[in-house]
Every structure is written in structure tokens, then in C-alpha cells.
Symmetry: D3
Subunit: 255 residues, 6 copies
Amino acid sequence: MRSDQREVNELRNITIETDYVKHPEGSVLISFGDTKVICNASVEDRVPPFLRGQGKGWITAEYAMLPRATEQRNIRESSKGKVSGRTMEIQRLIGRALRAVVDLDKIGERTLWVDCDVIQADGGTRTASITGAFVAVVIAFGKLVEKGKIKQLPVNDFLTAISVGVLDNGKEILDLCYEEDSKAHVDMNVVMTGQGEFVELQGTGEEATFSMNQLQTMLSLAQQGVDELTTLQKEAIGKWAAVIESKQSSSVAGE
Amino acid sequence: MRSDQREVNELRNITIETDYVKHPEGSVLISFGDTKVICNASVEDRVPPFLRGQGKGWITAEYAMLPRATEQRNIRESSKGKVSGRTMEIQRLIGRALRAVVDLDKIGERTLWVDCDVIQADGGTRTASITGAFVAVVIAFGKLVEKGKIKQLPVNDFLTAISVGVLDNGKEILDLCYEEDSKAHVDMNVVMTGQGEFVELQGTGEEATFSMNQLQTMLSLAQQGVDELTTLQKEAIGKWAAVIESKQSSSVAGE
Amino acid sequence: MRSDQREVNELRNITIETDYVKHPEGSVLISFGDTKVICNASVEDRVPPFLRGQGKGWITAEYAMLPRATEQRNIRESSKGKVSGRTMEIQRLIGRALRAVVDLDKIGERTLWVDCDVIQADGGTRTASITGAFVAVVIAFGKLVEKGKIKQLPVNDFLTAISVGVLDNGKEILDLCYEEDSKAHVDMNVVMTGQGEFVELQGTGEEATFSMNQLQTMLSLAQQGVDELTTLQKEAIGKWAAVIESKQSSSVAGE
Amino acid sequence: MRSDQREVNELRNITIETDYVKHPEGSVLISFGDTKVICNASVEDRVPPFLRGQGKGWITAEYAMLPRATEQRNIRESSKGKVSGRTMEIQRLIGRALRAVVDLDKIGERTLWVDCDVIQADGGTRTASITGAFVAVVIAFGKLVEKGKIKQLPVNDFLTAISVGVLDNGKEILDLCYEEDSKAHVDMNVVMTGQGEFVELQGTGEEATFSMNQLQTMLSLAQQGVDELTTLQKEAIGKWAAVIESKQSSSVAGE
Amino acid sequence: MRSDQREVNELRNITIETDYVKHPEGSVLISFGDTKVICNASVEDRVPPFLRGQGKGWITAEYAMLPRATEQRNIRESSKGKVSGRTMEIQRLIGRALRAVVDLDKIGERTLWVDCDVIQADGGTRTASITGAFVAVVIAFGKLVEKGKIKQLPVNDFLTAISVGVLDNGKEILDLCYEEDSKAHVDMNVVMTGQGEFVELQGTGEEATFSMNQLQTMLSLAQQGVDELTTLQKEAIGKWAAVIESKQSSSVAGE
Amino acid sequence: MRSDQREVNELRNITIETDYVKHPEGSVLISFGDTKVICNASVEDRVPPFLRGQGKGWITAEYAMLPRATEQRNIRESSKGKVSGRTMEIQRLIGRALRAVVDLDKIGERTLWVDCDVIQADGGTRTASITGAFVAVVIAFGKLVEKGKIKQLPVNDFLTAISVGVLDNGKEILDLCYEEDSKAHVDMNVVMTGQGEFVELQGTGEEATFSMNQLQTMLSLAQQGVDELTTLQKEAIGKWAAVIESKQSSSVAGE
């Protein structure tokens, strides 16, 4: 039995609160149980040097935790003067994942900055960040559409992320909280589209290994989580959900 | 008339929400109008090297803003690899102010880390930080008292901070919002105890100067703001308010 | 057809040269086609602070490229004053993978530093690094055994890594060279033990996604590559191969 | 009685030596007793990016101490690789103060770099720096006037700074030396114009607080110090003193 | 007698392998006994800011050692976040030496980046680096000539470097290996042209001094080493040797 | 003829002012013409980690220039966050040179920090630094002797440094000022003992080379300069000169 009594395929309580902070074009507070992340999307009217003059845009993400988001206080990365390898891995993952479902050719020479700031951590901060960031990004692009700055929503599919793992008792589970994560033998993050395609798959044996069978079971659990998360995203983005769904169909048809 | 229709001596709507985040010993979300700051107090069971072996404790503060707390997104200080002069000034101020009302000899060899993270900024982030941090600190010390780790609340007085300034029309005002702050000729931050003693006074002419008369008017406005903020702090800290008030009396008596 | 005429499941020419540099306890030059990496394993007789006094050891890896290992010269990370996110990701991956097959409880309070320095790059530098680093590590541990510093080889299984991907024409392929990698829609690195268990799985859609079917095909290709690489490792480590094989059997028996 | 026998309202011996170093446009060695600061003003014919194209100029200040300016040797900030919070506070203060009395619209797109390097420290280095920097700045602008690069001296008033404080015996004093400063309960730096307007007011209780009465006494002492310092500045800048005095009158008239 | 039985004026075994790595315009692996350095020359079609628009080029060098090039593993400079003083001294020396024999006015607005990476160290890494770098530079310029990008080889003379020293027994020797170097009282690096002119002379007493007589003996040994090294360089660069020799003569004639 | 009318073997006006700053154990202001350097020697009662427990001491030097010591203002190294290669070279040279004439075994576990801060530069800052630093070091050690902390002056010989060079007209000269230095083809710094032994010899062709004959002429000029500088040092250190001279004799006798 899991430490918080959940079924192996049961997500924690997930909430997505939009318009959380007033300045950003898109702002979301997402909770995966006790994990809470502020996801802000900011539009900047220029692109990084390597893209200038090409008429296309860019999405970049940054991730951080408040020092006391965790049980033990962490030293600020600004005080240390450098960003940790863990932070870099996570923010590169978030940016890459978002770019997989956005049509960068359709947003002009703009950069979307996505800031995921964890204010409370209990496992799964990177999957919550991706899932919340997607909503913030859609809202930000929606504002650009409404202001006439871009013609249509440049988002091709939904994008959610969830963790799966193998506990020390050999049991595969969905959406690990911190207590589970710290004891798991295998930890896998799965980023998927609303249509069930993989965007990222990152599975790691923690001083352990895993078999093909365990991989299949974990992927099946992840699929279940992704379906639920996609439903919650649709509610959060309102009218824009239909726009994305219509793209999904044409995308399938046009394959 | 002020941009948000307030009287010259009128504070913005101030709220103090305690137990905002679950891990820290003291956690507060304070709002000064649209300025929102998470103030977390963390207890660490050791002191910096310069204090080791002296049997006394320390309080240190860190301050940061989320990148999109402001109207324009700011680059993260962790990405820049260094903390700005503005940030250093503010966090040194917060720490110094808190130490002025805490009896560091009574807390053992412990460090209280105070993290003030601005999630939304509209002027007055340093005064909101100090006012909120004081509440988080009292709650954190209260927990140490309740756990029997220290004998009594080591806090000698209330501590609040407020901004005053002189607008470009020469009018002195209390609690400047960002729009006012950006146009003010003089900007002054006043940190006071609950009994009306000064802890810090930082007045700055912004490519301008101010007279003794203007100083007196600003200090009078600040005193009014401080009284209101102290009342709100008392509500936020509940039973600990009476403990601090009893110290104030004895302190006055013993002067 | 592939740019270098290989079959989809065909590895490049792989060579492993041991004792490449004279000072390190284990030193290997590994080539995956035109990708050449020096993998040096150094034994240090102490562990990082977080492990002191626990009687166990640690393995940590560092990865770098000579500035002109690539077609365009890259600025040195020492000149930039910081290690890039890509470098951090790769060196964390190498260290984690090695730790999965080494019994850290059996090496005493020692750190094994593994340095993977790419002197020529043509795609697949991280998979060549892991595959070569494993050989250097076995040789280094072998010397500790021969000197009587540890009782037996603390290595539980072979460890190899290989890349698979999906080209822009939808074709799944094994062991991508740089030209293929730069055009691939999907890039996946698979780290496996000699017995076919997963250690790490990192699949990424590059502004694209991939299906469950494509995943299965890629994993099957990876398995073929891993078998060949394991055979080459056995040749490179000589007598130590039998020791590891004997552990594999007992490990299976004891499951 | 004070440690060096001064009256409470008595300045230390103050000297201002001009043309101290040969390269800078303005160069001053100022002494406040044993505190000695080289203040160099350098003219650069361009402005920082945020001001380009606006036809106005900028003044920026940097402050440092030689490692052995103090009783104990300090590590160089260049060796530490970063500037301390204390240094940042002081150099921001110096720059802000100078900008308050200079008409930046009248100096063209130029930056005045003011370097205050403390070669010997005995308390009051920031007030000596501001007082000396003002003289260096006037001399540098005077040269620009004489070379015909600007039409008139763009300086609206004199600018001096002095410290006041409250000793542990409750006594308010003027111009604290290091021994006094290290024992003071309150430390306040006052920056004023020649006409007695405030430019900056920074009062700090050092683990202590201060009352309104104490504030008034300190401000009165500061006023006395400022008058004497202004007289010394007039001697140091020679013919330019009259130019500034004539501006003061018109400034008062035009208020 | 020397630790490796060499005569006092005997070089170690020197080899120069060209085309060592495939991407750089010039690539050399040079060995001075057990000291092995990869010297890569890369052509970049622009110059540093201070040279732009002057129609001339630049040569800059970087030097590094693999962490385990030495008997004890060294921390990477990229991990430390800064380049050591020793590294800076060496790379400045290499660049300066190369620029002394190259006609920078004849290479257009190009920068030649020379990377000297020590993969195995046994003393004399800087002299091996300069001697090998010269060969890489000639090959790189040769390619520019062959591609018609520059008219003729812009190299005026050969350039070699060798170490000489005084052992603790007072004996002067040529080409110190690490064991000798660590015990030497005097260490001198001599950089010379093929015609026996000095380019750099850096002699250092290691907590010792040396006399004019010792200096003369060391310079004489250096001259012998330089002659042998020049011969090896001529073999390595093939047809370009004659071009440089023809310049030498005209240079002497034109003095 | 030289730009300042000096003979080829004529030093600039050299002055050495002792007790320049009050806190350091040894403090000197040395001038080589318009080059002025403050040399402070500070005694610290511990040694760097690599020397602990060996009963011997260490000397380390740091060098810096005030931003406007030069004709163009330089950015502070503390602002840049790193020390330049030039600075590192110079401070390593100063420390190494001083250590060559000090008996580190006789100073106990102490570090002598030598800070050379250039307040005005006109060429030859490193030779002025070494020559002045020697005086500061002798004075600092003299104080340790007088306080009874060490038994005798641990200085074996005088130590001076001077520059020589070859102008663009082929003429060898002594003690180059900045104007000469910027045009010289060869620049050589010679560090010698009072008895005429070499401590350091650093000769550099600036995009030029030099012959054995030129070297001999330069060394002869250097010897003349060193003799004069030694005489000035003797005056500056007063009674300690005789102590050092007595060591010189015994040193020669004991060779």
C-alpha cells in the first residue's frame, strides 16, 4: 500500500489556478498534491541571436525552487553564483517539451519565457512544471491571438507530464510523492501529447536497473495519468481547448 | 489626488496570511495592495563561523523577486551568476532590522534564515518584506518555545516598515505604489518598533533634495502607517502578541 | 539508405584501446567511428563530505570536449567560467550509469573519478563515453584487487550505451553519426547491462513526437547494439570478464 | 569624553589635496583624520546603454579599499571574484548623491566615473568619499568647461557628507572615528547640499533603536559638520566656488 | 647522471604526428618523451574587437591539461570556474611566441585559435606546446594558401622552444623531465627562431638564484636543442619548410 | 635620444618613502619617475593549507592598479569578477622573487602578504613593485625581530628589479617609461640580488626577436640599474642594511 493510501494508478489531487499573478501574459498555479508551482509565461518581442532574421520564434524555460520549498532549506542558486546541474536538466526538459507542440514558425520573432518557480515541493516538480507551463503558454498565446499579433493559436496538441516508478518492493506506481520518490528503485518521467505520442521519456535506475516488462507497465500507468491531466488542462484553458482539438484531428488526418 | 484615490496618509489594503507554505517553521504571505511577498523563516541549528562557540544566535535574510513579479521580466540573478546591489541592500536591511528587536543571546547557537520572495511587485517590496518577515520570525520562535528548545519568545518589540515619499507635486504621501514611486522626488523607508522607536531610516532624493520640513512631515506619516501595521501584526501572531506587549512595558519601565 | 551506407541495425566501427595514458589507474581510448573519447579512471582515497564515515565509496564522472573536437570550434568551458547544461547532463548521466553496476559498499571510502574527454566528435559522444568509461573503471578496480586494497571486483554486470533514433524519413536506426543526429526527429540513448536490463532510457522528440511502435522498434535496435558492445568490452577487460560473468549468473539465480 | 578628546560637535582634521594623481580629469586626496581616500573623476565620452541617444549624461561611482587600509588585512574583492554588499551599498550611495547636484542634461552623452579608493581607513570612509568625490567632479567638469566641451559648470550646489551617531553612553556625536563607530548604538550618514537640503539620510540602529529626539540632535550636529565641510570644498575648488554659489541663489529664487 | 640516463645536452625522444584530429585546419600530436600534447589550429574568419577594420589578423592560444595528465588528478578549470595563473601565463606565452614569427598583416581579418591540450604530462609541456603549435599553425596557413584565401605562407621563421635548468647538484641540463624539473634550482624556457634569435627567455630561480656563467651555459644548451627541434619541424611540415627557409635568407639579407 | 632626455643607462628619479600607511607592518610608497606604487607588507600568523605543520612560512603577493592609474581608465578586476592574466603573471613574479631571498624556514608558520597597488602608472610597475616590496618586507620582518617573534632578520640578500629593452631604432635602454615601453621591440625585466645573481629573467620580443648580442647589452644595463637601486634600498631600510650585508659575505664565503 502507498504511503498516502492511493491506488498504484491514482494521481494525487491536481488543481490548476489560472491568472495567478497579474503581470505575466500567462500565469498558473498548479498543484500536484502538496507540490505547488507558479508557472508564468512572458512574451518578449525578440529572439535569441541564433534565430534572428529567420522569422520564427523561440520558447525557453527556467526553473527554480524557493529555498524553503523543501523540508531542508536549500542555498539559493543566486547566492552560490551558479545554477545546479539538476536545475539545468529540468529547465532544458521543460523548454524542449513545450517546443515539441508549438509551431515556432507561427509566432513571429518572439521569445516565450516560461518561468516555473516551485513554492512548495513534494515530488514531481518537473512534471507539475511542464503540465502547468503548457496551460500558461496557451493562455499567453491566446492573448497574442486576441490582440491580433498572431493569426491563430500556434499549439498543435496538449502536453502533459507525469512520473512513474518502481518502488523498492518491485511495485510500479503512478505520480510519486517525495516519500515514494526517495525510496524508488526506478524513476521515470513521461511527457506525452494529448494524443498519446511520446515527447520525452526519461527513465533512471537509482543504483538499480529495470526490465522490459517493468518498462511496459510503467508506460501503461503513465498513459492513464496523462489522460486525466489532459482533461484538467482542457478545463483550465477554456475556449482554446477546442482549437487545439481541431488541430489534433487534422494532424492525424494529415499524417 | 493619488493614482489609486487614496488619502495621503492612507495605507493600501494590507493582508497577512500565516502558514502559507508547509515546510518552514514560520511562513507568511503578506500583501501591500498588489505587492505580494512570501516570507519564510527557517531555523538552522548552527551559526555562521564568526559566532561559533559564543552561545548566541543569528538572523540573516535573503530577498528575491520572481522574474515576472514586475511588469517587465527581469533576468534571474542565478542566471546572471551574481546578486545585484539592490538585492544586497534590501536583504542586508531586512536582516539588520530583525536583529534589532530579537534577543540573539536567548536563541542558542541557531541561525534564523528569513527568505522574502516577491511573487508580485507593485512598490514597497522591502517594507512588505520586513513587516511580513517579522510575523514569520515570531511564529518560528513560537514553535521553538513550544518545543521547549528555547525558554521564552526572544522578541523585544514589534517591527514594521513603511515607505513615505514626496511626489513631483511636492506632496508628502504614505505607502507608495509603483506608479507613485517611479515619479517620486524623495523616497524614504522607515523601520520602526511598536513603541515608535526608529530602527532604520533611509531617505533618498532621486536627482532631487528634501528639506527638514519635508522630512518631519514624512516621519509623521510613517508613524501613522506603523501604528496600523502593528495592529495587523498583533492579529496575525495571536497569543504571542501579548508576550511581546509585556516585554515592551518592562522595557520602558527598565529604561 | 544511411549517409555512411550502414544497415539500420549496424554499429559503426568500434575500437577500445586500453592503457592509453600512463598515469590513470584505468585509461581507455574508445572510438565509435570518428568519435574518439579518452576515458580515464582515477582512484582517490576519500569520499565526498556527504558519504564520510559510512564505509562506502562513490563514483563521479566529468565530461568535456576539446574545443576543436567538433566541426566548429567551441569556446572552452574554463574560459566561459562555467559548465554548460549539456555537459552537466552528460556527466551526471555517466556517473549515475556507472554507479548502477558497481557495488559501492565494496570499495571502501574511495572515490573513482571518471574523466571522459572527447578529442574528436561525430555523434554519440555520451554513449561512447559510458561504454569506454566502464572498461576504464573495471581496469582501475582490477588494479585495486591486484594490490589487495579491495577483495574482489565490485562490478555486478557489464554496462554499455548506444543511441537509436528516428530519421526524418520515419526510419528507425542504430548508432547515429553526427550527420544523422542533426537531422533525426527522435534521439534516444539507451544504457543497458550485459543481461539486457535498462539502466537509463532517455528519448527526446526534437520538435517532434514518437509513437509506442517507434519506441519498441528503437528498443529492439538498441538491444542488438548492446550485445555487440558487450562482446567488445569483454575482449578489452580480459580476465575480468569472467569474474563479471560469474556475478551475472549468481545475480540471476538470487533474484 | 571622546577617545580622541574631541568635542561632540567637532570634526576631525580635514584636508583636501587636489591634482593628486596625474591622469584623471579630477583627482583628490581627502583626509578625515586618519581616513584617507583617493577620489578620481574620469570622463568617458559615452553613456551606458539605457541612456544612449537621449542627449544626457551619467555619473557612476566605484568604491574600494586597499587590502591593508584596515587594521586587519581584507581579502581583495577581485580575488574573491565578487563585490561585497557593503561595497555595493557605498558605491551606489556615492553615485546617487553626486547625481542629485549635477545637471545631467547639461553634460552631453558622457559618463563621469568616480573612483573612491580608500588607502587608509579610520571610520567615515563613505562620507569622506562623497565629500572628496564632489571636489574631483567639479574639477573634472571645470576642465570640460575650459576645453569648451560643455558650456557651463553643470553643478547646482555643494555636496558634503558626514556621519553622526549615538554612543553606547547615549551621547550624540559628530564624525565618528573607527573606535567610536565600532561601539556606537546608532550610526547615521547624512548627505547634504551647501544650502542645507537633504540628499540622503541613512540611520541604522545596530541591534538597537533610536528616538525622535535623538534623531533631531543628530541632524543638528550633521548640519554643523556640513557647514565646515562646505567651506573646505570652496577653498579646494577655487574659482568654481563662485559659479556654484551663483547657482544656489538663482535656485532658491526659482523655487 | 640524469634520472633517465641522458647526456646533459640530450633531448628526450621527440615525435611530431600531423593530421591527428580531423576537424581542425592544423592538428598535431607532439611528444617530448612521455609528455604528449595535442596542438590544434583553427581558423576563424574574424578578429577580436580591438583589431576590427584594420585589415590584419590575430593569433591567440589556449592551453589546458586533461585532469589526469599528471600523476595526481587535478580539478578541471571549468569546474573551478576559473583559469589558473599558471594556465594564463602559459597560454599568453604560446600566443606571443607564435605572433613573433607570423606576419599578421598578411592573413586578412582572421583569427588563428591554437589549442594546446596536454593529454600526458612529464615536464616541458609549454615547450612541447610551442614547438607543436608552430607545426599546426604552418599546416593551417598552408591550407589557406592552397585554397587561395591568402597569397603566401605568412610565416617568417621556424619557432621552437626548449627548457634548460640547473639541477640541485649545480649541473646545467637540457630538456628537463618532470622528476628533474621538480628538483631543479633554476628553470628556464627558451623560445627561439630557426635562425637562433630569441623570442622569449624566461628564467626563474626556484627559491634560489643563478649566475651569469650559469646563464651562458644554459643558453648554449638551449641552442643545441633548438637546432634539433627545427630539423624535426622541417620534416613535419614538408614542402612548407622550403618556403620558410627562403624567407629566412631574405630576412637576413634585408636586415 | 630618449623621450625624456635620459642617457641609455640612466634611471628615472627613484624615491622610496617608508611608513606610508599606518596599519601594515611594512608600508612603502615607491616612485620610478611618474610610476607610483604603494607596497604594503602584512603579517598573518598562519600559512596556506599546503604548508601547515611544517614549521615554515610563506610569502605571497598581490598586485593591482587603481582604475585611473593609467591614461585610459581600466575596469576594476573586482567588477569584472576575475583577475586578468597580466595581473596574475605580475603577482606570481613578485611573490616568487621575494621568496628567493627570504629564508622561509626562519619565520615560523607565518604568511607575509605583500600588496602592491599602483596609484599612478608610467611604465615599469612590476619592477617598481618588486623593488619597493623588498623594502616593505624587510621593515615588516624587522618589526617581528624587534618584538622578539623571530630571532633574526630572515633576509639573505637585497632584491631589486629593473626593466631593459630594445627601442624600435635598435638601441638598448634602461628603465623604460610607458612611452618607450609601448614602442619597444624587446622588453626584458631583470630581478637581481644585491650581489648580482639573477633571480628572474623575462625577456620578450613584441612581434620581434632579439640576438645574443642584444641580450648581453641589456643584461649589462640591468646590472648598472640594480646597483643604484640597491643603494637606495640600503638608505630606506637603515640599520637592517648592515644585517643583510653581513649575510651576503657569509653567504659568499659558504658557497
